[in-house]
Point group: C2
Chain length 442, copies 2
């Protein structure tokens, strides 16, 4: 991850350095721009990390990949149109995703369309039956706490919220969470879990360093503490030199904590979002633990959709080739965000943003106490972004400064226009805030 | 449901009425047959309620039903290849299954491939967050008890077992559970749920009478008591005069208990088993309750597979036509079971069995204390049936007499041979038992 405030570019454009008069003038100009945007009332959406239509279309072969009865038969002689087999999913599918997940096929489970659902199920199994066979259910050890590197993925935090799990925000460093903080906090036996999006993180786009992974693997923690390793962007590169992430399962095994990590993956942003496959990989003991509970919940996943994915993606190289096509569609959009932010916000000192090398998001920090105002201005002008604070546990950003920008869905020219309009909102809010600090209002 | 012991057919063939010498002779003849079967060692499977390959093939249109990008667009303008919409599923799919579930589309949720998974999720949401908004979580009201009409579906009971829910077996009458017993037991505020397979029940094939439904709807029970109404065989008729089941949602609403019932359904035995759709219907309040929790678990179900089902089944009449085709394939198999049991066990007084008018099972009661022996004999001869006792909570049939026969998967001639061989096992076990009662052994 690289963080930019565009300071390198311009001469001094720092807003805080302007005289009150000049600042007021700047504000009035941006306000005028803002009113013009509002008058145009063009709706823009930068809210959802959602593939564009031309991206999902890259996987249209899935629609015809298994179109005859003969193609429904798995290599083990079973019919994917009928009940059978293990809740771990087709061996063909487990083999396909094993390299992406960093585990042998026996330690891989391929499920239905949602990796979030798998994370949910791990949590409820741990709450109700204990995180390993014979362990005390988490629910009988309350309070239960999770470490939450923040800003992070709102849906992770909502899972905790739903089940009364206390969330402890942990700051991020650009190479993963602050490990001093994590090691100190994980020593608390009530801490049972930690959310990690270890590669091209949502939303900061950072990738955990080798040191971060090693320290997470070996740090002191409860025996039933689990790393929820949501490697959602494992193969979602935006450069020729992909970030490298260490294998957490191997690191945990080497550190003598083989059951610490559960790796999650998904094809939601590889093939069809919501009609793809969710999956997990973990230690043999954790796999037995999960499968025994999951087999009570369901006879097994939809194996036909797994077969379709096997036919279309074929192998790890097939996944890489497919992801190259995504990259070509995504790159211009991410480039547009950088160009516009650089042009409009560079050197102003009122915003820093990430320059992602992969994943789906740009993370923008505005001046403290300004994010809610920016989002409200944007909303009133028809630009949708996720609510300010949503990237923090309980929706509370203590500094009210982080905003997640998702440029994947709209066409590139629309992204450019939307981000330009959004930059205006940032500048209006920032100048208002700076003027208010000087006792000048509206 | 009709129960037969074939007594009407033969003169007196009752084994208990035979002299010890004649009984021994009978036993030796059946033992000789059994040894011959064992020697042939032909493997038979009567264990799984699994559609045959020609049955799943009836839905092969699903493989090509949505084969172009244009067909992926839902009537609300959304793309089924991408993230969107409500966790309730496509409105097209909810409309399709609304009549089968007996609820308007707004009260229907269509999910992924497993209705069992939906039942599981209702249970964990109730355990962890309470069965209605603001209610005390079941887990904080322990002990929690479920009423379990038995014999019943083993996977229902396993869900209770996994989460430490006490199970209270309730006897069945041929028109549903013994309502005197149920009403008495449901008055216990610790009783929070009841498993019901109300039509062509698994395994007894009975359909709950209007009186049963009405009494379940109006009986006194805890406010957070729920009927788990697993209407898995709603449209799975084997006669021209389908059983009629009253609408439990309407009955509960009329009785002032609108949130009491949750109706589950599935296409597992309509289209593709394990690659079909699971669904539920319930009151508006329960739907809001479920959706709010389910939206935390997952962004939503695979809507492409829902679209495929809409294209192939079209409407309620389309489902009925499709089910007629299943019936034609299943009828000869169920007829074979009746013929063979009648011929081999009729009038012997050592077995009674059901004559199902729908569903997937024949329920056989052998002499008390004989079911385990019968199943062991069958297993040794290569005939697989579910373990004796599996149709009861915790796998314990107090009288050790019930065995579930599933004739759907093998071809009809194989069913005939398998059931014939199985009848031999029944007769060997019964004669051994009767002789042991007279002090005669091996």
């Amino acid at each position: 991850m690289t963080i930019s405030d565009g300071a390198a570019s311009a001469g001094s454009r720092e807003l805080a350095g302007l005289s009150t008069g000049a600042l007021r003038e700047f504000r009035d100009r941006e306000r005028a721009r803002y009113e013009a945007i509002k008058a145009r009332a063009t709706p823009y959406n930068l809210a959802r990390g959602k593939p564009a239509t031309d991206q999902v279309a890259l996987a249209d072969q899935l629609l015809t990949a298994v179109s005859t009865p003969e193609q429904c038969w798995a290599e083990d002689g079973n019919d994917c149109r009928n009940y059978y087999g293990s809740p771990q999913g087709l061996i063909e599918a487990r083999r396909l995703f094993a390299p992406m997940l960093g585990a042998p096929p026996e330690q891989v489970l391929v499920a239905n369309n949602s990796s979030l659902a798998l994370m949910h199920d791990v949590i409820v199994y741990a709450l109700l039956t204990g995180a390993r066979d014979g362990a005390v259910p988490w629910r009988d050890q309350r309070p239960i706490r999770f470490l939450c590197p923040s800003p992070g993925y709102d849906r992770h935090f909502q899972l905790c919220e739903q089940y009364g799990i206390e969330m402890i925000p942990v700051s991020l460093t650009g190479a993963g969470p602050d490990m001093e903080e994590v090691e100190r906090l994980a020593a608390d036996p009530q801490v049972k879990g930690m959310w990690c999006v270890p590669k091209y993180s949502n939303p900061t786009a950072e990738t955990y360093s080798s040191e971060t992974v090693a320290r997470l693997a070996r740090m002191g923690a409860a025996d039933d503490f689990r790393l929820f390793w949501d490697n959602a962007y494992a193969v979602h590169h935006l450069t020729d030199t992909p970030d490298q992430l260490d294998n957490v399962l191997e690191a945990c095994a080497a550190a003598g904590n083989p059951d610490r990590a559960i790796v999650f993956g998904s094809t939601s942003k590889i093939t069809f979002a919501q009609a793809g496959l969710g999956m997990l990989a973990t230690s043999p003991a954790n796999m037995r633990w999960f499968v025994s509970r999951q087999s009570t919940r369901t006879i097994g996943p939809d194996k036909l959709n797994q077969m379709r994915h096997v036919q279309v993606l074929r192998n790890d190289a097939g996944i890489a080739t497919h992801m190259e096509r995504h990259r070509r569609l995504l790159e211009p959009k991410f480039a547009a965000v950088q160009e516009v932010f650089e042009a409009r916000l560079g050197g102003t000192g009122v915003a820093v943003w990430t320059q992602p090398r992969g994943g789906y998001f740009v993370s923008l920090d505005v001046l403290d106490h300004c994010a809610e105002r920016v989002v409200a201005l944007a909303k009133a002008a028809g630009i949708e972004v996720v609510a300010a604070g949503r990237t923090f546990p309980l929706g509370r950003d203590p500094r009210d400064r982080n905003i997640r920008i998702a440029p994947s869905f709209p066409p590139a020219d629309e992204v450019r226009a939307a981000v330009d309009a959004f930059a205006t909102c940032v500048l209006v809010a920032a100048t208002e805030h700076l003027l208010a600090d000087r006792g000048v209002n509206a």
